[in-house]
Subunit: 259 residues, 2 copies
């Protein structure tokens, strides 16, 4: 792929926007539920509600996949399930390894959502020799020494890292060297990987921090002055001997927006 600009703006082969890809699993889950209730067809409106998005967005998303609906009727549930599964690559088997079998790793190993959608846990790997052989979620934990062999024997291309932060980069390097090209990282670290390797990050505490931000704002609507008061308690910047030169986004005046 040529990094270059698209000489064909329309009709790009597989030009599915990243934002759309991220929503396909949502649609798939909603569709699977409908399928289990033997619902034959669904409208964009209904499906969008079930997936928690709006219908225009959903139709636009599906338009990148092709014209899989019927005007005046809606979408055939089974057919869409198949098409989205195929698009996501879930019609094939993906062996994954989970490295780091602490609380989180064990939770992941037991998580039903993995196995149910084309993912197969090929092995659980931990650095602690005491863990070796112990069964977790029905699988015996393997020692890190076997990592490379497991990956090549099973053709693993997706690895899940659930180790402490300190071990994550090292594990990542070994996974990549052994042939893994996609990594789901639960460790609170930025991983550096060579070009061509995908990393997705799930960070539990970051999500909470984002919630706290919004929560604070809700509370702050009543007492908008509070944060200004807090700011006065800030440690002075060490650099450039100290006149109070810090300025908030709205200066020091009360931050009231003209609606």
């Amino acid at each position: 792929m040529a990094t270059g600009r698209t000489h064909r703006p329309a009709t790009r082969s597989r030009g599915i926007p990243e934002a759309t890809v991220a929503r396909l699993p949502l649609y798939l889950r909603a569709l699977t539920a409908l399928s289990e209730r033997s619902v034959p067809t669904v409208s964009s409106e209904e499906l969008a509600a079930a997936a928690g998005v709006n219908s225009a967005k959903l139709r636009k998303d599906f338009s990148y996949l092709g014209s899989y609906g019927t005007r005046g009727v809606g979408y055939d549930v089974e057919y869409l399930v198949y098409q989205i599964s195929r698009e996501l690559g879930l019609t094939q088997d993906w062996p994954v390894v989970i490295v780091g079998i602490g609380n989180l790793g064990a939770a992941l190993a037991n998580y039903g959502g993995f196995a149910s959608r084309g993912f197969r846990v090929a092995a659980l790997i931990d650095a602690d020799p005491a863990m070796a052989g112990k069964p977790v979620a029905g699988l015996p934990v393997k020692h890190t020494d076997e990592l490379e062999a497991i990956i090549s024997d099973n053709g693993v291309s997706i690895g899940v890292i659930a180790t402490p932060a300190g071990a994550a980069q090292q594990v990542c390097d070994r996974l990549v060297a052994a042939g893994v090209t996609s990594i789901l990282n639960f460790a609170p670290t930025v991983l550096s990987v060579p070009e061509g390797v995908d990393v997705r990050k799930v960070d539990l505490s970051i999500e909470l921090q984002i919630l706290a931000f919004h929560e604070q704002r809700k509370a702050g609507e009543d007492a908008a002055q509070e944060s200004a008061a807090q700011e006065s308690a800030a440690p002075a910047p060490a650099v450039s001997g100290g006149a109070d030169r810090r300025k908030g986004p709205d200066g020091d005046v009360p931050a009231v927006m003209p609606a």
Copy 2:
């Protein structure tokens, strides 16, 4: 432009873009690491590298908070740590409850990242009477019956849902009724909540599915025809008696990139 639903421009009280808010925890983590190494100042370039973003983006992000840097020098680490913490609301104490103490709930309860950043686990709650009283991460698990009392006694405004999908909405309703206004949802369901309640969703299997999509594309570069072959095996759409009217994004012609 009539039909305007949003009476509020939404998400603009302090004017910090949502995308920026989502990155502040990343910066904060990188800064904390620098702080622990007693690094006094850092440039946007260095900090951006540590956080895994590019420096222009970082500077733009910080510009929404205020002018906290020094031209020609960089940012004072301690000062920035404080400012970002304050902006995120981490200078105050946030009691949280975790509902659903299975593998994942236990993992969350043990997760150090929570306690370390202004979050305090006020209680662990589970519906299983057999769990009640059992210690997890040093806290005795409480029964769901006590949910409302725990929330009001502790002034909990943030709840974490780690129950099975089937129980999630019900738990959510009770949390909200009891006064919780921010929810971090690990259950694979779309929660419906009243206006004013924030929900963030973490879905482990969705992340894997997104990885699988990209992984498939990597593999497909060698054998681009394969997916066309698979498409022929698709179940025919049930709707509208059967002529082969399905069309992929490029019709039926082989989807080969000019590349």
